[in-house]
């Protein structure tokens, strides 16, 4: 039985005994018998206990009196503050400040002799840019040593002398006892807040007096021995607030409660020897340290990997044989002190282990690098297009390159892969790219990875590690630095301003023109696009045939689902669409369809098996990619024409029927390989009128939802049997698509996406990248819905006193801000999904921010001007009224308990990075906007409101499109009926 359990049982037995009838008499008899035999000893122990109670009673007095101002208003003289253990050399900036809080044995300004030894040697070991502050009385809010106290100084000096001469003397225990009581004060729920603030003030003042600049962000380590551990953890949250810097705690045999806000620490390193009896008081006496309290700070911090328990081997607590004993030796010949110094200096100086760690297993992002045809290669990708049937995807396409840390200016480099006519000489050059939007200036933030983020890196997440410890990282930098390599291919949306190089010099690297954009660069795939129908796959080689036979045999369970052979990647033939004839009789193309690398669960993101015979091939595919440099074209991304053109199969009008379709039929029994496009309208319109509304130039709001991967290769996320899915907003513009001459759209998403192992980056994502990409996209594996909402009050622009205002545009900017925060996890390096913060909650938070912005602006108009404005353009005013009505209803639907989401009311709040931060609060907040909790329910809720206000929408559904992939099946995301 573990020791702790034995002790608990013993305590329980004692309690029972005390409660039993007659027990009092028994105890009395026992006491009398003891007193009879060992009279003096028993009396002494009784006196000791009484003294203990008395001193316990007065222990909080110093802190309380200090708070109440009983000790006068005098300023603390600088002599009473902590001082540097070793002088600093020159003007070298300090990398880290270490504050030493001695054990509960400390009585005077001098730490225990062994503590002084430890500090001296540690100072010698650490590099010169570390500063150690010592001399802080870890139990006195006025930093007054016991030996200098008003009333009992003489007594404590005597005890101290005696103790140093004879470490084992009983009287030394008196000091220990006195200070254990101070630990109890710090852990007390009433006195703790006062005492800990007082200690935090002593620490802050000592740091500042020695040259620390609060707000500089220089990290601080609290090094607490024994009771110093509790003092460190108690002062921690206050220190964090005042210093605004990361604070970590190293506890050497620390005795501390579990109710301290350990989560506020960067990390807690707890070093304990196996023979340490004092440290054990902590896990025993403080219920927050018990496993029975899973929600205590201690247990939550442990679950989140914020605590490292480090064993010191056969080491005790105090002298002799303690953590700081220089005369006791380990089996490897080092003294206990030496080992402690080794460990502490390693923690302080080394980069934290996880920071250098590669993911334990290659994540999907690393796996996919093996697909060389999907890797970004600017020289290849910018080559001449092999066929006239291909047209460039956009004017400006290029790669984002993160500047070096010492060459930053707030923008990033843009390596031009494709430039519009007139600028083609810039191809291959690196230009400065700047993004100007006043909203974004406020979004620059310092990045310091939390331990949780580093843990997530080790677990395989793709995080912006390159930006760790950078100051004021801009949204553009976070986009360029989001992945370990500079492999972010983007399109720049118009308007792109080209600012000439002021010197007019020859365009050297970085000295060419500068590019200035207003919108977030669009993450994309490929540089050119064509509309084709696949004709014939490449002939199967003998090797491929036999490989297929082997794998068919291996899959013993069901031969019907055994994979057919994946056709070779090259050369596929396809014929291009000719808009003049309206048929697939244009140029022939030779295409390369590289076989994608399966993800860590063995699921291939796309296949090309039977592509030429699949139903979607009849209408044709838009293929997007890059020239292969050998006369062929690499298809990196594909989207079926049926999802890219305005040609609904059906029109459903009327609120009820439209809603029924959106809510039920659209997701009813999804079948792999199928796609549909249905127009729904909330008004009772005939089919021709419903269709005729949709005109080139219309702006559309997009609601995107995806589901899960089921079937034989079911994804592990579905292990619980429930698919929550994912939600995103997007925008689209109706336009005549030049390759087909049909009405179609350009569509991009605004992905509020938490950090993930796939390397998907939160931000504006092109449909080519997010959906169609055969390596990185979801079209081949997931069921998806893109609902294109046409609702002019939302999408049209308003002329407010000469300003062109568009709510959709404001919304895009709010989403750009939200996704920029997601990319950096508000400076912690990681965003995790929780009930209050996830894709759908935060997307909708951005929507409300946009609507509130417009309302604010209108409220600022003076009423007369507003009336004039309404009379001037009644149609516009009518649209606005409709919009405000929509807003009210959306708010009621999504935010029924507005009081629970103060973060949606204010402009900005820290992203709750995980449930562990404030579990109940987070859950409550999530429930405050419960309809946005589940992605599909959020989409449904928004759609229902839109339909009620007479919007029309094109519901596009696709289930695992592309080649045949019988091992997987689409799973619809969960929603709730109401």
């Amino acid at each position: 039985m573990p020791r702790r359990h034995r002790l608990l049982l013993l305590l329980l037995a004692l309690l029972l005994l005390a409660l039993l009838p007659g027990a009092g008499l028994l105890l009395h008899l026992a006491y009398s018998a003891l007193h009879h035999s060992f009279g003096l000893v028993v009396d002494l122990i009784s006196v000791g206990l009484l003294l203990f109670l008395v001193s316990a009673f007065f222990a909080p007095l110093e802190a309380l009196g200090w708070w109440a101002g009983w000790f006068g208003e005098e300023l603390r003289p600088p002599e009473s503050l902590g001082a540097l253990a070793t002088p600093l050399s020159g003007d070298q900036p300090i990398r880290r400040w270490v504050v030493y809080l001695d054990g509960i044995g400390q009585a005077s300004m001098q730490a225990l002799p062994e503590g002084e030894d430890f500090l001296r040697q540690l100072g010698e070991r650490l590099p010169a840019d570390f500063a150690i502050v010592r001399g802080i009385m870890p139990y006195s809010v006025v930093n007054q040593p016991l030996t200098e106290s008003r009333w009992l100084g003489q007594f404590w000096r005597w005890v101290d002398r005696l103790r140093i001469r004879h470490p084992q003397a009983l009287l030394g225990a008196v000091i220990n006892l006195r200070n254990i009581l101070v630990v109890a004060v710090s852990a007390d729920q009433r006195y703790g807040p006062i005492f800990n603030q007082g200690m935090a003030q002593v620490i802050t003042d000592s740091l500042v007096a020695n040259g620390y600049a609060p707000g500089s962000g220089t990290p601080v380590t609290l090094l607490g021995f024994s009771g110093g551990g509790q003092i460190s953890l108690g002062a921690l949250p206050h220190l964090r607030r005042v210093l605004q810097a990361p604070v970590e705690v190293i506890s050497l045999g620390g005795v501390f409660a579990g109710s301290n806000q350990i989560l506020a620490a960067e990390h807690l390193f707890h070093l304990v020897g196996e023979r340490d009896r004092v440290e054990r008081i902590g896990p025993l006496a403080f219920p927050g340290r018990w496993r029975l309290q899973p929600l205590s700070y201690w247990n939550r911090a442990r679950r989140r990997g914020k605590v490292s328990l480090i064993s010191l081997g056969p080491v005790g607590h105090e002298l002799p044989g303690g953590i700081l004993d220089a005369a006791a030796f380990l089996s490897d010949g080092r003294s206990h002190l030496q080992q402690t110094i080794d460990r502490v200096s390693a923690i302080l100086t080394e980069v934290k282990p996880a920071e250098l760690q590669e993911p334990r297993e290659p994540n999907n992002y690393q796996r996919y690098q093996a697909n060389s045809w999907h890797r970004l290669e600017p020289s290849r990708d910018g080559g001449p297009l092999p066929s006239p049937a291909l047209r460039p995807l956009d004017d400006w396409i290029g790669r984002l390159i993160l500047p070096l840390a010492d060459q930053r200016w707030g923008g990033v480099w843009f390596e031009v892969i494709h430039a519009p006519e007139g600028w083609s000489q810039l191809r291959g050059q690196r230009l400065r790219l700047d993004w100007h939007d006043p909203l974004l200036a406020a979004l620059a933030m310092d990045v310091h990875f939390s331990d949780e983020a580093l843990q997530s890196v080790a677990d395989g997440g793709v995080h912006p590690l390159r930006l760790n410890h950078w100051r004021q990282v801009t949204p553009l930098e976070s986009l360029a630095g989001a992945r370990p390599q500079d492999d972010q291919l983007v399109r720049l949306s118009a308007p792109v301003r080209v600012l000439p190089n002021p010197q007019g010099r020859a365009a050297l690297d970085g000295e060419g023109p500068r590019l200035l954009i207003q919108d977030e660069p669009l993450q994309t795939t490929g540089t050119a696009v064509a509309l084709v129908r696949f004709e014939a796959p490449p002939a199967l080689t003998a090797a491929a045939v036999s490989a297929a036979a082997v794998s068919a045999k291996a899959s013993a369970t069901d031969s019907s689902t055994a994979p057919e052979a994946e056709p070779p990647a090259w050369p596929w033939t396809a014929v291009a669409f000719d808009p003049a004839t309206g048929r697939f009789d244009g140029a022939r193309l030779r295409l390369r369809l590289p076989t994608p690398v399966p993800n860590s669960e063995g699921i291939a993101p796309a296949t090309s098996r039977g592509l030429e015979t699949a139903a979607t091939n009849q209408a044709g595919w838009y293929v997007c990619g890059v020239p292969d440099g050998d006369g062929g074209f690499v298809v990196q991304s594909m989207l079926p024409r049926s999802l890219q053109r305005f040609a609904p199969e059906r029109v459903i009008s009327g609120q009820r029927r439209a809603w029924d379709y959106v809510k039920r039929q659209a997701w009813h029994q999804p079948e792999a390989g199928s796609a549909s496009a249905v127009l729904v309208t909330g008004r009772p319109l005939g089919e021709p009128e419903a269709l005729a509304e949709w005109q080139p130039g219309d702006r559309l709001l997009v609601l995107h939802v995806f589901g899960g991967i089921g079937g034989q290769q079911r994804e592990s996320a579905l292990a619980g049997g429930i698919c929550t899915g994912h939600f995103a907003y997007g925008v689209a513009t109706l336009e005549t698509e030049p390759l087909s001459g049909e009405l179609g759209w350009s569509l991009s998403y605004r992905q509020v996406y938490a950090h993930n192992p796939d390397g998907i980056i939160a931000g504006a994502q092109d449909r080519w990248r997010y959906l169609g990409d055969r390596q990185w996209g979801w079209l081949g594996t997931r069921p998806v819905a893109d609902i294109l909402v046409r609702f002019p009050p939302l999408t049209a622009s308003y002329d407010v006193q000469g300003h062109e205002r568009s709510l959709l545009r404001d919304f895009e900017r709010q989403l750009a801000a939200m996704t920029a925060r997601y990319r950096l996890g508000d400076g912690t390096g990681a965003t995790f999904v929780g009930p209050a913060n996830n894709c759908s909650q935060d997307s909708n938070q951005a929507l409300f921010a946009a609507i509130k912005g417009l309302q604010r602006e209108l409220r600022q108009l003076d009423p007369r001007a507003l009336r004039a404005w309404q009379q001037q353009d009644p149609a516009q005013a009518q649209r606005l009224r409709q919009l405000l009505r929509l807003e009210r209803e959306l708010r009621r639907a999504l935010l029924p308990f507005a009081g629970l989401r103060p973060d949606w009311q204010r402009d900005r709040e820290v992203l709750g990075t995980s449930l562990e931060d404030q579990p109940l609060d987070n859950l409550l907040r999530g429930l405050g906007s419960w309809r946005a909790l589940l992605p599909r329910m959020a989409s449904d809720t928004v759609m229902k409101v839109f339909l009620r206000h007479g919007a029309s929408a094109l519901v596009l559904r696709a289930n695992q499109l592309g080649g045949a992939h019988p091992q997987i099946e689409p799973v619809a995301p969960l929603t709730l009926g109401w």
């Binding site: 009673f57 909080p60 309380l64 708070w67 109440a68 004060v185 009433r190 020695n210």
Partner: protein, 223 residues
């Protein structure tokens, strides 16, 4: 051991004889009042941190403790009277009021230790334990001096307590306000004792009452 001591230790042990003895003893007629008063003082000491948090000066601190004890005593008397009313009107027990006050006052004996509530960390559980102890004492004391059954005694106490609370919130409001203002006058500051407000006060902006602004020293540091 004096008589008073015996009564108190007896009450601590839930000894019904202690109550009967006190009820019959002439010299102990005021013992209930005294124990309740001292218990009030002990409780005030146990909860003194509220006075500290409100930054009450030392002399006023002492006066406040006494006022709190007196307020506690008057609260007790009201409660005892309500209990007496309930015992009489509901359960038909014709127990003299003075006897009931004496018994319930003696039952406050465990609260004499309430000053231990000031102990760091252990204080809060000790207070909980004492409350339980006292509550049992009330029932034992009441049953000992009256002809009520255990359940009738218990019900009288609970209903009496509820009645007191209802009174405090309705007709007794001016009296309560008077008590509060007495306490505030004694303390010299309007006392905040609501948990949430206290927490806010502790967290409000600055650290500590007299914020020190130290001058940065030269970088050479001091030994």
């Amino acid at each position: 051991m004096t008589e008073a001591q015996e009564v108190i230790t007896g009450a601590l042990r839930f000894d019904a004889h202690a109550y009967l003895y006190a009820a019959a003893s002439g010299p102990l007629s005021r013992i209930g009042i005294w124990i309740a008063l001292l218990a009030g003082l002990s409780q005030a000491i146990g909860q003194a941190f509220i006075l500290f948090v409100n930054q009450v000066r030392p002399l006023r601190f002492a006066i406040s403790l006494v006022v709190e004890a007196l307020l506690f005593l008057s609260g007790f008397l009201v409660w005892a009277t309500s209990t007496w009313l309930v015992a009489w009107l509901v359960f038909g027990s014709r127990l003299p009021l003075s006897l009931l006050i004496r018994a319930l006052g003696i039952a406050h004996a465990p609260q004499l230790l309430a000053f231990l509530g000031a102990l760091p960390y252990l204080g809060v559980p000790i207070l909980t334990l004492l409350s339980l102890w006292t509550a049992i004492g009330f029932v034992v004391g009441l049953v000992a001096v009256s002809d009520l059954s255990v359940w009738a005694g218990f019900s009288s106490l609970v209903v009496g307590w509820w009645l007191t609370n209802a009174l405090q919130r309705t007709a007794g409001q001016p009296v309560m306000a008077l008590g509060r203002s007495l306490l505030d006058r004694a303390a010299g500051v309007p006392l905040i004792n609501d948990g949430r407000a206290l927490e806010q006060m502790l967290r409000s902006g600055q650290i500590g009452p007299d914020r020190v602004n130290p001058q940065p020293l030269d970088r050479s540091g001091r030994p």
